[in-house]
Protein backbone atom coordinates (compact mmCIF):
# COMPACT_ATOMS: atom_id res chain seq x y z
CA UNK A 1 0.00 0.00 0.00
CA UNK A 2 2.87 2.39 0.86
CA UNK A 3 4.29 2.10 -2.67
CA UNK A 4 0.85 2.92 -4.15
CA UNK A 5 0.51 5.97 -1.89
CA UNK A 6 3.92 7.33 -2.89
CA UNK A 7 2.80 7.38 -6.54
CA UNK A 8 -0.49 9.08 -5.71
CA UNK A 9 0.98 12.26 -4.24
CA UNK A 10 0.80 15.37 -6.47
CA UNK A 11 4.36 16.69 -6.64
CA UNK A 12 5.37 20.33 -7.14
CA UNK A 13 6.93 19.48 -10.52
CA UNK A 14 3.71 17.85 -11.68
CA UNK A 15 1.74 20.88 -10.49
CA UNK A 16 4.05 23.28 -12.33
CA UNK A 17 3.58 21.30 -15.53
CA UNK A 18 -0.21 21.50 -15.19
CA UNK A 19 -0.73 25.12 -14.18
CA UNK A 20 2.05 26.83 -16.16
CA UNK A 21 2.38 30.10 -14.20
CA UNK A 22 4.38 33.19 -15.09
CA UNK A 23 5.94 35.54 -12.53
CA UNK A 24 2.87 37.79 -12.29
CA UNK A 25 0.52 34.92 -11.53
CA UNK A 26 2.91 33.42 -9.00
CA UNK A 27 3.18 36.77 -7.25
CA UNK A 28 -0.63 37.12 -7.20
CA UNK A 29 -0.93 33.60 -5.82
CA UNK A 30 1.58 34.34 -3.06
CA UNK A 31 -0.30 37.53 -2.15
CA UNK A 32 -3.69 35.81 -2.16
CA UNK A 33 -2.57 32.73 -0.24
CA UNK A 34 -0.34 34.71 2.12
CA UNK A 35 -2.44 37.78 2.94
CA UNK A 36 -6.01 36.65 2.24
CA UNK A 37 -5.94 32.92 3.05
CA UNK A 38 -3.40 33.65 5.85
CA UNK A 39 -1.13 30.78 4.86
CA UNK A 40 2.18 31.48 6.69
CA UNK A 41 4.29 29.60 4.14
CA UNK A 42 3.24 31.97 1.37
CA UNK A 43 3.12 35.06 3.59
CA UNK A 44 6.93 34.94 3.94
CA UNK A 45 7.37 34.68 0.20
CA UNK A 46 4.90 37.53 -0.44
CA UNK A 47 6.64 39.77 2.14
CA UNK A 48 10.08 39.08 0.60
CA UNK A 49 8.74 40.06 -2.83
CA UNK A 50 7.13 43.19 -1.32
CA UNK A 51 10.43 44.20 0.28
CA UNK A 52 12.32 43.64 -2.96
CA UNK A 53 9.65 45.62 -4.83
CA UNK A 54 10.16 48.52 -2.42
CA UNK A 55 13.93 48.40 -3.00
CA UNK A 56 13.49 48.19 -6.79
CA UNK A 57 11.04 51.11 -6.86
CA UNK A 58 13.54 53.11 -4.78
CA UNK A 59 16.27 52.23 -7.29
CA UNK A 60 14.15 53.70 -10.09
CA UNK A 61 13.20 56.81 -8.10
CA UNK A 62 16.72 57.49 -6.75
CA UNK A 63 18.56 58.35 -10.01
CA UNK A 64 15.60 60.45 -11.14
CA UNK A 65 15.72 62.32 -7.87
CA UNK A 66 19.47 62.76 -8.28
CA UNK A 67 18.90 64.46 -11.63
CA UNK A 68 16.03 66.60 -10.31
CA UNK A 69 17.87 67.57 -7.14
CA UNK A 70 21.00 68.33 -9.19
CA UNK A 71 19.04 70.72 -11.42
CA UNK A 72 16.85 72.34 -8.77
CA UNK A 73 19.05 72.62 -5.68
CA UNK A 74 17.54 76.03 -5.01
CA UNK A 75 14.11 74.45 -4.28
CA UNK A 76 15.20 72.63 -1.17
CA UNK A 77 18.78 72.10 -0.16
CA UNK A 78 17.91 70.23 3.04
CA UNK A 79 19.03 66.58 2.58
CA UNK A 80 16.70 65.25 5.26
CA UNK A 81 13.60 66.82 3.64
CA UNK A 82 14.70 65.70 0.16
CA UNK A 83 15.19 62.13 1.32
CA UNK A 84 11.85 62.07 3.13
CA UNK A 85 10.19 63.32 -0.08
CA UNK A 86 11.88 60.44 -2.00
CA UNK A 87 10.71 57.91 0.62
CA UNK A 88 7.16 59.31 0.41
CA UNK A 89 7.18 58.97 -3.40
CA UNK A 90 8.47 55.38 -3.09
CA UNK A 91 5.79 54.48 -0.52
CA UNK A 92 3.02 56.03 -2.68
CA UNK A 93 4.21 54.15 -5.78
CA UNK A 94 4.47 50.87 -3.93
CA UNK A 95 1.00 51.43 -2.42
CA UNK A 96 -0.35 51.97 -5.94
CA UNK A 97 1.31 48.77 -7.18
CA UNK A 98 -0.10 46.87 -4.20
CA UNK A 99 -3.66 48.14 -4.75
CA UNK A 100 -3.38 47.00 -8.38
CA UNK A 101 -2.04 43.58 -7.33
CA UNK A 102 -4.79 43.05 -4.72
CA UNK A 103 -7.39 43.86 -7.38
CA UNK A 104 -5.77 41.36 -9.71
CA UNK A 105 -5.96 38.54 -7.13
CA UNK A 106 -9.63 38.19 -8.15
CA UNK A 107 -8.47 36.35 -11.29
CA UNK A 108 -6.48 33.69 -9.44
CA UNK A 109 -8.97 33.03 -6.62
CA UNK A 110 -10.10 29.74 -8.18
CA UNK A 111 -6.55 28.57 -8.80
CA UNK A 112 -5.59 29.42 -5.20
CA UNK A 113 -8.57 27.45 -3.89
CA UNK A 114 -7.71 24.47 -6.08
CA UNK A 115 -4.11 24.57 -4.87
CA UNK A 116 -5.34 24.59 -1.27
CA UNK A 117 -7.34 21.45 -2.14
CA UNK A 118 -4.20 19.87 -3.61
CA UNK A 119 -2.43 20.61 -0.31
CA UNK A 120 -5.32 18.99 1.60
CA UNK A 121 -5.18 15.98 -0.70
CA UNK A 122 -1.42 15.61 -0.14
CA UNK A 123 -2.00 15.88 3.62
CA UNK A 124 -4.53 13.00 3.44
CA UNK A 125 -1.89 10.91 1.62
CA UNK A 126 0.63 11.73 4.36
CA UNK A 127 -1.89 10.65 7.04
CA UNK A 128 -2.57 7.43 5.15
CA UNK A 129 1.14 6.72 4.92
CA UNK A 130 1.40 7.05 8.70
CA UNK A 131 -1.63 4.75 9.22
CA UNK A 132 -0.18 2.21 6.76
CA UNK A 133 3.19 2.25 8.56
CA UNK A 134 1.45 1.73 11.91
CA UNK A 135 -0.51 -1.18 10.47
CA UNK A 136 2.71 -2.78 9.21
CA UNK A 137 3.87 -3.11 12.81
CA UNK A 138 0.55 -4.74 13.81
CA UNK A 139 0.29 -7.52 11.22
CA UNK A 140 -2.85 -9.11 12.69
CA UNK A 141 -4.86 -5.90 12.37
CA UNK A 142 -3.93 -5.12 8.77
CA UNK A 143 -6.91 -3.65 6.87
CA UNK A 144 -8.85 -5.79 4.47
CA UNK A 145 -7.61 -5.87 0.92
CA UNK A 146 -11.01 -4.61 -0.23
CA UNK A 147 -10.78 -1.49 1.98
CA UNK A 148 -7.27 -0.75 0.72
CA UNK A 149 -8.46 -1.11 -2.85
CA UNK A 150 -11.37 1.26 -2.22
CA UNK A 151 -9.12 3.79 -0.59
CA UNK A 152 -6.54 3.76 -3.40
CA UNK A 153 -9.32 4.01 -5.98
CA UNK A 154 -10.89 6.98 -4.16
CA UNK A 155 -7.52 8.71 -4.08
CA UNK A 156 -6.91 8.00 -7.75
CA UNK A 157 -10.29 9.48 -8.68
CA UNK A 158 -9.68 12.57 -6.52
CA UNK A 159 -6.21 12.99 -8.02
CA UNK A 160 -7.68 12.76 -11.49
CA UNK A 161 -10.37 15.34 -10.57
CA UNK A 162 -7.84 17.75 -9.10
CA UNK A 163 -5.52 17.57 -12.09
CA UNK A 164 -8.43 17.92 -14.49
CA UNK A 165 -9.72 20.93 -12.58
CA UNK A 166 -6.27 22.53 -12.63
CA UNK A 167 -6.02 21.93 -16.35
CA UNK A 168 -9.50 23.40 -16.85
CA UNK A 169 -8.58 26.53 -14.87
CA UNK A 170 -5.25 26.89 -16.67
CA UNK A 171 -6.86 26.65 -20.11
CA UNK A 172 -9.61 29.11 -19.15
CA UNK A 173 -6.98 31.51 -17.77
CA UNK A 174 -5.13 31.36 -21.06
CA UNK A 175 -8.47 31.57 -22.94
CA UNK A 176 -7.63 28.68 -25.28
CA UNK A 177 -10.46 26.26 -24.59
CA UNK A 178 -12.68 25.03 -27.43
CA UNK A 179 -16.27 24.35 -26.24
CA UNK A 180 -16.19 20.57 -26.90
CA UNK A 181 -13.02 20.22 -24.80
CA UNK A 182 -14.62 22.21 -22.01
CA UNK A 183 -17.70 19.95 -22.08
CA UNK A 184 -15.45 16.88 -22.03
CA UNK A 185 -13.57 18.13 -18.95
CA UNK A 186 -16.80 18.89 -17.07
CA UNK A 187 -18.19 15.43 -17.88
CA UNK A 188 -14.94 13.84 -16.64
CA UNK A 189 -15.24 15.71 -13.36
CA UNK A 190 -18.90 14.68 -12.92
CA UNK A 191 -17.97 11.03 -13.54
CA UNK A 192 -15.16 11.27 -11.00
CA UNK A 193 -17.58 12.61 -8.41
CA UNK A 194 -20.10 9.82 -8.98
CA UNK A 195 -17.34 7.18 -8.67
CA UNK A 196 -16.07 8.84 -5.51
CA UNK A 197 -19.50 8.81 -3.85
CA UNK A 198 -19.98 5.13 -4.71
CA UNK A 199 -16.58 4.36 -3.21
CA UNK A 200 -17.43 6.17 0.01
CA UNK A 201 -20.42 3.88 0.56
CA UNK A 202 -18.20 0.82 0.05
CA UNK A 203 -15.64 1.69 2.75
CA UNK A 204 -16.31 -0.07 6.04
CA UNK A 205 -13.06 0.13 8.06
CA UNK A 206 -13.49 2.78 10.79
CA UNK A 207 -9.89 4.10 10.73
CA UNK A 208 -10.22 4.87 7.04
CA UNK A 209 -13.75 6.28 7.18
CA UNK A 210 -12.66 9.76 8.21
CA UNK A 211 -9.93 9.93 5.56
CA UNK A 212 -12.34 8.77 2.85
CA UNK A 213 -14.74 11.48 4.03
CA UNK A 214 -11.97 14.04 3.65
CA UNK A 215 -11.18 12.77 0.16
CA UNK A 216 -14.85 13.00 -0.75
CA UNK A 217 -14.99 16.56 0.61
CA UNK A 218 -12.01 17.46 -1.56
CA UNK A 219 -13.75 15.90 -4.57
CA UNK A 220 -16.96 17.83 -3.83
CA UNK A 221 -15.07 21.10 -3.43
CA UNK A 222 -13.22 20.54 -6.69
CA UNK A 223 -16.53 19.95 -8.41
CA UNK A 224 -18.09 23.06 -6.85
CA UNK A 225 -15.08 25.24 -7.74
CA UNK A 226 -15.07 24.09 -11.37
CA UNK A 227 -18.85 24.58 -11.68
CA UNK A 228 -18.47 28.16 -10.39
CA UNK A 229 -15.59 28.79 -12.77
CA UNK A 230 -17.57 27.40 -15.69
CA UNK A 231 -20.56 29.62 -14.88
CA UNK A 232 -18.34 32.69 -14.49
CA UNK A 233 -16.65 32.13 -17.83
CA UNK A 234 -19.94 31.68 -19.77
Amino acid sequence: MLADLANLEISTKELEAYINLDFRHELLLDIYRGFLLKNKKYLGSALTTELAMLILISIIVLPLSLIILGNFTAINSNDRTNFLIIIAIVVCLSLGVNIYLFQQTYYIKTLANLLELVNKYNRVIQSLKIVARLKLTQADRFPEEETQKHMIEALLVTRHSLLNALKFESILREKQLPSHKRYELIINLENDLVTLMALENGTSAREYEQLVDEVLQIGLNVHKTVKNLDQKSD
Binding site: D22, F23, E26, L27, D30, S45, T48, T49, L51, A52, I55, L56, S58, I59, L62, P63, L66, L69, G70, D79, R80, N82, F83, I86, I87
Partner: protein
Protein backbone atom coordinates in the same frame (compact mmCIF):
# COMPACT_ATOMS: atom_id res chain seq x y z
CA UNK B 1 7.73 31.80 -4.99
CA UNK B 2 10.94 30.48 -3.61
CA UNK B 3 13.45 33.17 -4.56
CA UNK B 4 16.11 32.07 -2.10
CA UNK B 5 15.62 28.41 -3.03
CA UNK B 6 16.32 29.32 -6.67
CA UNK B 7 19.38 31.29 -5.56
CA UNK B 8 20.66 28.32 -3.52
CA UNK B 9 20.02 25.99 -6.44
CA UNK B 10 22.12 28.30 -8.60
CA UNK B 11 24.95 28.51 -6.06
CA UNK B 12 25.05 24.73 -5.61
CA UNK B 13 24.99 23.76 -9.27
CA UNK B 14 26.14 26.73 -11.29
CA UNK B 15 26.97 24.85 -14.50
CA UNK B 16 23.53 23.24 -14.56
CA UNK B 17 21.97 26.66 -13.98
CA UNK B 18 23.89 28.19 -16.89
CA UNK B 19 22.80 25.29 -19.10
CA UNK B 20 19.17 25.90 -18.10
CA UNK B 21 19.54 29.59 -18.99
CA UNK B 22 21.02 28.52 -22.34
CA UNK B 23 18.02 26.24 -22.95
CA UNK B 24 15.49 28.90 -21.88
CA UNK B 25 14.16 26.78 -18.99
CA UNK B 26 12.12 29.06 -16.69
CA UNK B 27 14.51 31.87 -17.53
CA UNK B 28 12.16 34.73 -16.53
CA UNK B 29 11.40 33.23 -13.12
CA UNK B 30 15.10 32.62 -12.53
CA UNK B 31 16.03 36.19 -13.51
CA UNK B 32 13.35 37.70 -11.26
CA UNK B 33 14.30 35.50 -8.30
CA UNK B 34 17.98 36.40 -8.70
CA UNK B 35 17.08 40.08 -8.97
CA UNK B 36 14.91 39.95 -5.83
CA UNK B 37 17.30 37.96 -3.66
CA UNK B 38 20.39 39.93 -4.68
CA UNK B 39 18.57 43.27 -4.12
CA UNK B 40 17.76 42.19 -0.57
CA UNK B 41 21.35 41.06 0.15
CA UNK B 42 22.80 44.27 -1.29
CA UNK B 43 20.35 46.29 0.82
CA UNK B 44 21.43 44.47 4.00
CA UNK B 45 25.11 45.13 3.31
CA UNK B 46 24.32 48.71 2.31
CA UNK B 47 22.57 49.25 5.65
CA UNK B 48 25.72 48.07 7.49
CA UNK B 49 27.86 50.43 5.39
CA UNK B 50 25.58 53.33 6.27
CA UNK B 51 25.54 52.51 9.98
CA UNK B 52 28.25 55.11 10.66
CA UNK B 53 25.66 57.83 10.11
CA UNK B 54 22.12 58.41 11.33
CA UNK B 55 19.07 56.13 10.77
CA UNK B 56 18.26 57.96 7.54
CA UNK B 57 21.83 57.30 6.35
CA UNK B 58 21.31 53.56 6.99
CA UNK B 59 18.08 53.67 4.96
CA UNK B 60 19.68 55.70 2.18
CA UNK B 61 22.70 53.36 1.89
CA UNK B 62 20.38 50.33 1.89
CA UNK B 63 18.81 51.78 -1.26
CA UNK B 64 22.02 53.11 -2.81
CA UNK B 65 24.07 49.90 -2.78
CA UNK B 66 21.57 47.78 -4.76
CA UNK B 67 21.03 50.85 -6.98
CA UNK B 68 24.76 51.02 -7.68
CA UNK B 69 25.00 47.42 -8.88
CA UNK B 70 21.71 47.29 -10.76
CA UNK B 71 22.13 50.65 -12.48
CA UNK B 72 25.66 49.71 -13.58
CA UNK B 73 24.15 46.57 -15.08
CA UNK B 74 21.38 48.52 -16.84
CA UNK B 75 23.90 51.03 -18.22
CA UNK B 76 26.44 48.46 -19.49
CA UNK B 77 24.36 45.46 -20.58
CA UNK B 78 23.04 46.88 -23.90
CA UNK B 79 26.63 47.64 -25.02
CA UNK B 80 27.68 44.02 -24.49
CA UNK B 81 24.54 42.56 -26.04
CA UNK B 82 24.56 44.60 -29.24
CA UNK B 83 28.34 44.28 -29.65
CA UNK B 84 27.99 40.50 -29.46
CA UNK B 85 24.94 40.41 -31.75
CA UNK B 86 26.77 42.42 -34.40
CA UNK B 87 29.69 40.00 -34.12
CA UNK B 88 27.52 36.92 -34.64
CA UNK B 89 26.04 35.97 -31.26
CA UNK B 90 22.72 34.11 -31.50
CA UNK B 91 21.83 34.48 -27.82
CA UNK B 92 18.82 36.41 -26.58
CA UNK B 93 18.92 39.49 -24.36
CA UNK B 94 17.39 37.41 -21.53
CA UNK B 95 20.41 35.05 -21.68
CA UNK B 96 22.82 37.95 -21.17
CA UNK B 97 20.60 39.38 -18.46
CA UNK B 98 20.45 35.97 -16.75
CA UNK B 99 24.23 35.58 -16.69
CA UNK B 100 24.78 39.14 -15.45
CA UNK B 101 22.10 38.73 -12.76
CA UNK B 102 23.75 35.47 -11.73
CA UNK B 103 27.05 37.35 -11.38
CA UNK B 104 25.22 40.01 -9.29
CA UNK B 105 23.84 37.21 -7.15
CA UNK B 106 27.36 35.86 -6.55
CA UNK B 107 28.52 39.33 -5.47
CA UNK B 108 25.48 39.89 -3.24
CA UNK B 109 25.78 36.51 -1.53
CA UNK B 110 29.49 37.08 -0.89
CA UNK B 111 28.72 40.54 0.53
CA UNK B 112 26.06 38.97 2.74
CA UNK B 113 28.66 36.43 3.88
CA UNK B 114 31.05 39.29 4.74
CA UNK B 115 28.30 41.26 6.54
CA UNK B 116 29.10 39.92 10.05
CA UNK B 117 32.81 40.77 9.53
CA UNK B 118 31.95 44.30 8.44
CA UNK B 119 29.52 44.67 11.34
CA UNK B 120 32.19 43.44 13.75
CA UNK B 121 34.65 46.13 12.61
CA UNK B 122 31.87 48.73 12.76
CA UNK B 123 31.16 47.89 16.41
CA UNK B 124 34.68 47.24 17.62
CA UNK B 125 36.57 50.10 15.95
CA UNK B 126 36.44 53.80 16.47
CA UNK B 127 38.40 54.47 13.29
CA UNK B 128 35.97 55.27 10.50
CA UNK B 129 38.77 55.51 7.89
CA UNK B 130 39.72 51.88 8.54
CA UNK B 131 36.03 50.85 8.44
CA UNK B 132 35.65 52.53 5.06
CA UNK B 133 38.84 50.95 3.76
CA UNK B 134 37.91 47.44 4.87
CA UNK B 135 34.52 47.82 3.17
CA UNK B 136 36.15 49.00 -0.05
CA UNK B 137 38.41 45.92 0.13
CA UNK B 138 35.39 43.62 0.68
CA UNK B 139 33.56 45.26 -2.24
CA UNK B 140 36.65 44.80 -4.44
CA UNK B 141 37.11 41.11 -3.51
CA UNK B 142 33.42 40.24 -3.99
CA UNK B 143 33.30 42.28 -7.20
CA UNK B 144 36.29 40.37 -8.55
CA UNK B 145 34.60 37.04 -7.72
CA UNK B 146 31.41 38.09 -9.49
CA UNK B 147 33.26 39.39 -12.55
CA UNK B 148 35.33 36.20 -12.73
CA UNK B 149 32.15 34.11 -12.66
CA UNK B 150 30.59 36.32 -15.33
CA UNK B 151 33.65 36.07 -17.60
CA UNK B 152 33.77 32.26 -17.40
CA UNK B 153 30.00 31.89 -17.85
CA UNK B 154 30.02 34.19 -20.89
CA UNK B 155 32.79 32.16 -22.50
CA UNK B 156 30.75 28.98 -21.93
CA UNK B 157 27.54 30.56 -23.20
CA UNK B 158 28.98 32.01 -26.39
CA UNK B 159 31.69 29.46 -27.26
CA UNK B 160 29.77 28.10 -30.24
CA UNK B 161 28.68 31.50 -31.55
CA UNK B 162 32.02 33.01 -32.45
CA UNK B 163 34.51 31.71 -34.98
CA UNK B 164 37.29 33.86 -33.60
CA UNK B 165 37.03 33.19 -29.89
CA UNK B 166 40.25 35.11 -29.18
CA UNK B 167 38.75 38.31 -30.55
CA UNK B 168 35.60 37.78 -28.49
CA UNK B 169 37.65 37.18 -25.32
CA UNK B 170 39.46 40.46 -25.85
CA UNK B 171 36.20 42.26 -26.46
CA UNK B 172 34.73 40.76 -23.28
CA UNK B 173 37.73 41.91 -21.26
CA UNK B 174 37.30 45.39 -22.74
CA UNK B 175 33.66 45.37 -21.72
CA UNK B 176 34.60 44.33 -18.17
CA UNK B 177 36.95 47.30 -17.99
CA UNK B 178 34.11 49.55 -19.12
CA UNK B 179 31.85 47.94 -16.51
CA UNK B 180 34.42 48.63 -13.77
CA UNK B 181 34.82 52.25 -14.88
CA UNK B 182 31.05 52.87 -15.02
CA UNK B 183 30.54 51.11 -11.67
CA UNK B 184 33.23 53.08 -9.86
CA UNK B 185 32.10 56.40 -11.33
CA UNK B 186 28.44 55.66 -10.51
CA UNK B 187 29.52 54.76 -6.99
CA UNK B 188 31.30 58.10 -6.80
CA UNK B 189 28.17 59.90 -8.06
CA UNK B 190 25.86 58.17 -5.55
CA UNK B 191 28.12 58.75 -2.53
CA UNK B 192 28.07 59.02 0.45
CA UNK B 193 27.52 55.34 1.24
CA UNK B 194 29.22 55.66 4.63
CA UNK B 195 28.47 59.18 5.76
CA UNK B 196 29.90 60.80 8.84
CA UNK B 197 29.30 59.60 12.38
CA UNK B 198 25.75 60.49 13.50
CA UNK B 199 25.09 62.69 10.45
CA UNK B 200 22.96 62.35 7.32
CA UNK B 201 23.85 63.36 3.80
CA UNK B 202 21.85 62.24 0.74
CA UNK B 203 24.27 63.15 -2.07
CA UNK B 204 27.56 65.01 -2.21
CA UNK B 205 28.50 67.58 -4.84
CA UNK B 206 30.17 65.83 -7.82
CA UNK B 207 33.91 66.58 -7.62
CA UNK B 208 37.17 64.62 -8.13
CA UNK B 209 37.03 60.90 -8.90
CA UNK B 210 36.86 57.50 -7.20
CA UNK B 211 40.57 56.56 -7.55
CA UNK B 212 41.81 59.85 -6.16
CA UNK B 213 39.52 59.37 -3.13
CA UNK B 214 40.81 55.81 -2.48
CA UNK B 215 44.41 57.04 -2.58
CA UNK B 216 43.59 59.77 -0.05
CA UNK B 217 41.74 57.24 2.17
CA UNK B 218 44.81 54.95 2.25
CA UNK B 219 47.01 57.88 3.24
CA UNK B 220 44.61 58.84 6.03
CA UNK B 221 44.28 55.23 7.31
CA UNK B 222 48.10 54.96 7.42
CA UNK B 223 48.18 58.40 9.10
CA UNK B 224 50.59 59.78 6.50
Amino acid sequence: MKHFAILMQFLRSRNEFIQEIEQDINIDKKNISLLISSSIFFAIYGAIMGSLGSFLQILSSAIKLPALYLLTMIICLPTLFFFDVINGSKRKFSHYLGILLAAMAVISVMLFAFAPVSLFFRISLNDNYFFKLINVAILAVTGFMGVNFFYKSMLTLTQEDFQEQKYHNRMLKGWLLLYALVGSQLGWTLRPFFGDIGKFQLFRPIEGNFYQAIFQLILKALQL
